[in-house]
């Protein structure tokens, strides 16, 4: 009887220690989790600030100003614009390539002459 009691006491002590340790571990992990969550919030804030910065720099008015004034760019004349219909892309490209090839075959004499 006494032996059983001692064994039980030992088990109890073990359990109690285990409980304390696991609680401690849980709390440590939780602190870590909290820190990571705080970091996530910080990063979220930073992301917001970066988004704000990006959209401020990329505002159309500014892009247009830079393109026109610093890079001397402009909208191409509609006469020089060709719209490509998505459905026709494949056939258009094919025919363009075909005509280009045909042109290249017909041209050598001309281009040779031009070079000279």
């Amino acid at each position: 009887m006494t032996r059983v009691n001692f064994i039980l006491l030992a088990v109890l002590a073990l359990c109690a220690t285990g409980l304390v340790t696991s609680q401690h571990k849980a709390r440590k992990l939780f602190t870590q989790l909290e820190k990571e969550q705080e970091r996530a919030r910080q990063l979220d804030v930073e992301w917001g600030q970066l988004q704000l910065e990006q959209s401020t720099w990329a505002m159309h008015g500014r892009v247009e100003r830079v393109a026109r004034q610093a890079l001397h760019m402009g909208v191409p004349d509609p006469r020089r614009t060709q719209l490509v219909q998505p459905a026709d892309v494949a056939s258009d490209v094919a025919s363009d390539v075909a005509s280009a090839v045909a042109g290249a075959r017909a041209a050598p004499a001309d281009s040779g002459a031009a070079k000279k």
Partner: protein, 576 residues
């Protein structure tokens, strides 16, 4: 000596002594028991609470206000944290050097700070709100006792003045006060939550106890707005207002397939990021909250009604000679007499007499019915704060002269947004599209008002008005067929019409073969000499329409040839 023979064992003590001792012990146990019951039973809650308050803390969980983005996800409004500096006046006594550096950092005169710190009867005084985080860090480095910082959110608008009227703004406490910020306040606003946690002596959170209130992040709002088209519209409008020295102006771009408002700009405007010194004129979203007498841009509706009723065809002849029409004591005049005109030409040449004659051939009731059907006189229900419905008087009170003038847009007032929407009638084969400020992904249900055939005839007429023989050749765009109508109206002033103050407008659509966009332009008091809608508003329309169609990659429906403008002095002047 053996224990058994000890004389002490022989000793007889009085029994009361042992009884007394037992009694005392028993009483002590009873006392302990009672105390235990008292603490564990009766006072348990109170004591537990006291205990918890030693280590548990309630923490606020902040919730962000939602972002506003354009239809392609570009950020138009976003909240980021800023710091507010506050003080406990009694504790805050900065040294003169600290005060000087603080005033430099906060950009406030030292006297003002000192005045705020002199309010010693108060426990909490804001020194300056909404500082950028970098400045706040520098303030913290000064280490002034009694000075604290508090985290707040501030709304930023990267688009600045370009989007100001559409987006509106929020107050210091992040509640919407104007525009979309106010209209979608319920969706955008986040609800802050709180939770109870256990903190250790180092201030770290070690355990979550309970969630008191779940925080709810504000939802994002995706607008129908296209930031690029908006930017084009704003730039073109601004250029025209500067060129014509106008007082104000507005522009609305609608996608008629979906009823989405792709762009909406007004001038004068303001920078929502820096709202010191604002005037009412800057804040006013004219396109939505102001109604004006549109002038000739309203003619197509009268004509459409006549065609739809079958009374007239596009080629029916109307006598407009001698260029004036007297009804009662009033006379309606054309800019110059045209003689016999077809109904098509009445629109093309913008003849007031022609429009008035057509109007008088119809009943007031049917005209009022059409105006109501195209949404005049009632707010367009976009949810935008302060939107107006314009002014249409009840038809029973119309006199013939009023019915006649209404046909060319006088004596009736509408907002620019209403006018743009009404033109969807011609572009959608007779249906009036519902407006939407937010992006529309599904199909829309539009209300049929006139027949598809009438709408097609009207499109043809409005295309003629933009041709070199019409009032708005400057609205033409290379590569696209365009239709539209000019309007030039005298401004109302002190109950009458001002002689030399005009409102120039143009409403048009493109491409005519399969209309995609309606653009309405209004320019208030152009005062650099030109004031006809065809001269002032039509070029803005053409510029914005060309840019917007490019942006939307709409297929060309006209050959690429240079725009034909009539020779100098040959332009058709519209009647006012």
């Amino acid at each position: 000596m053996k224990f058994a023979t000890s004389p002490v064992l022989e000793l007889q003590l009085p029994t009361w002594r042992s009884r007394l001792l037992i009694g005392l012990f028993f009483a002590a146990f009873c006392g302990l028991g009672a105390r235990a019951v008292w603490l564990q039973g009766m006072n348990k809650e109170f004591l537990q609470q006291k205990g918890e308050s030693r280590y548990s803390r309630v923490i606020e969980i902040s919730a962000n206000r939602g972002k506003i983005t354009d239809r392609n996800g570009e950020i138009l409004a976003i909240s980021t944290p800023v710091k507010s500096v506050w003080a406990i006046p009694e504790a805050a006594q900065p040294t003169p050097t600290q005060l000087a550096r603080l005033s430099a950092l906060l950009e406030m005169p030292p006297q003002e700070i000192r005045k705020k710190l002199a309010e010693t009867e108060r426990d909490f005084v804001y020194i300056k709100r909404q500082l950028p985080p970098e400045t706040a860090d520098k303030v913290a480095e000064l280490q002034i006792p009694g000075l604290f910082q508090r985290r707040e959110y501030r709304r930023y608008y990267p688009g600045g003045e370009v989007m100001a009227h559409m987006l509106g703004f929020t107050g210091v406490d992040e509640t919407g006060q104007e525009g979309i910020e106010l209209a979608f306040q319920g969706q955008l606003a986040g609800k802050a939550g709180s939770r109870r946690v256990i903190k250790d002596r180092r201030g770290q959170i070690v355990e979550d106890m309970e969630s008191i209130k779940v925080a709810q992040e504000g939802r994002n709002v995706t607008l129908a707005l296209d930031a690029k088209i908006q930017s084009i519209a704003f730039t073109q409008l601004k250029a025209a207002i500067d060129q014509h020295k106008a007082k104000a102006g507005g522009i609305v771009v609608l996608d008629v397939k979906t009823g989405e408002v792709l762009a909406l700009a007004n001038l004068p405007t303001y920078n929502p990021n820096n709202r010191t010194r604002l005037t009412g004129a800057q804040l006013r979203n004219r396109a939505v909250t102001d109604s004006f007498e549109p002038g000739s841009t309203l003619k197509p509706f009268t004509v459409a009604l006549a065609l739809d009723s079958g009374k007239l065809g596009p080629q029916s002849m109307i006598q407009t000679a001698p260029g004036s029409l007297t009804i009662g004591s009033a006379t309606i005049r054309d800019a110059h007499a045209e003689g016999m005109l077809t109904v098509e030409q009445v629109i093309q040449k913008s003849s007031n007499v022609g429009a008035a004659k057509i109007a008088l051939s119809m009943s007031a009731e049917s005209m009022a019915g059409l105006f109501a059907n195209v949404g005049f006189g009632a707010p367009p229900k976009t949810g935008f704060p302060g939107e107006v419905g314009g002014k249409v008087r009840p038809y029973k009170t119309w006199r013939p002269i009023e019915q006649a003038t209404m046909s060319y847009g006088h004596g009736i007032a509408v907002s620019l947004l209403q006018l743009a929407r009404a033109y969807s009638l011609f572009t959608r084969d007779g249906e009036l599209v519902p407006l939407s400020l937010t992006r529309v992904d599904g199909p829309v249900v539009a209300k049929p008002v006139i027949s598809a055939q009438t709408a097609r005839q009207m499109r043809h007429m409005l295309e003629m008005a933009v041709s070199p023989g019409g009032t708005a050749p400057r609205a033409q765009i290379m590569g696209y067929r365009v239709g539209g109508k000019t309007g030039t109206a005298h401004k109302q002033e002190n109950g009458g019409y001002a002689a030399h103050k005009y409102v120039s407008s143009f409403v048009g659509f493109a491409p005519v073969s399969d209309p995609r966009l309606v653009i309405a332009v209004m320019i208030d008091e152009p005062s650099a000499g030109q004031y006809y809608g065809g001269q002032v508003a039509a070029p803005v329309f053409a510029g914005v329409m060309a840019g917007a169609l490019r942006r939307l990659e709409v297929a060309h429906d006209a050959p690429m040839k240079a725009i034909e403008l009539p020779a100098e002095g040959q332009e058709v002047k519209e009647s006012i």
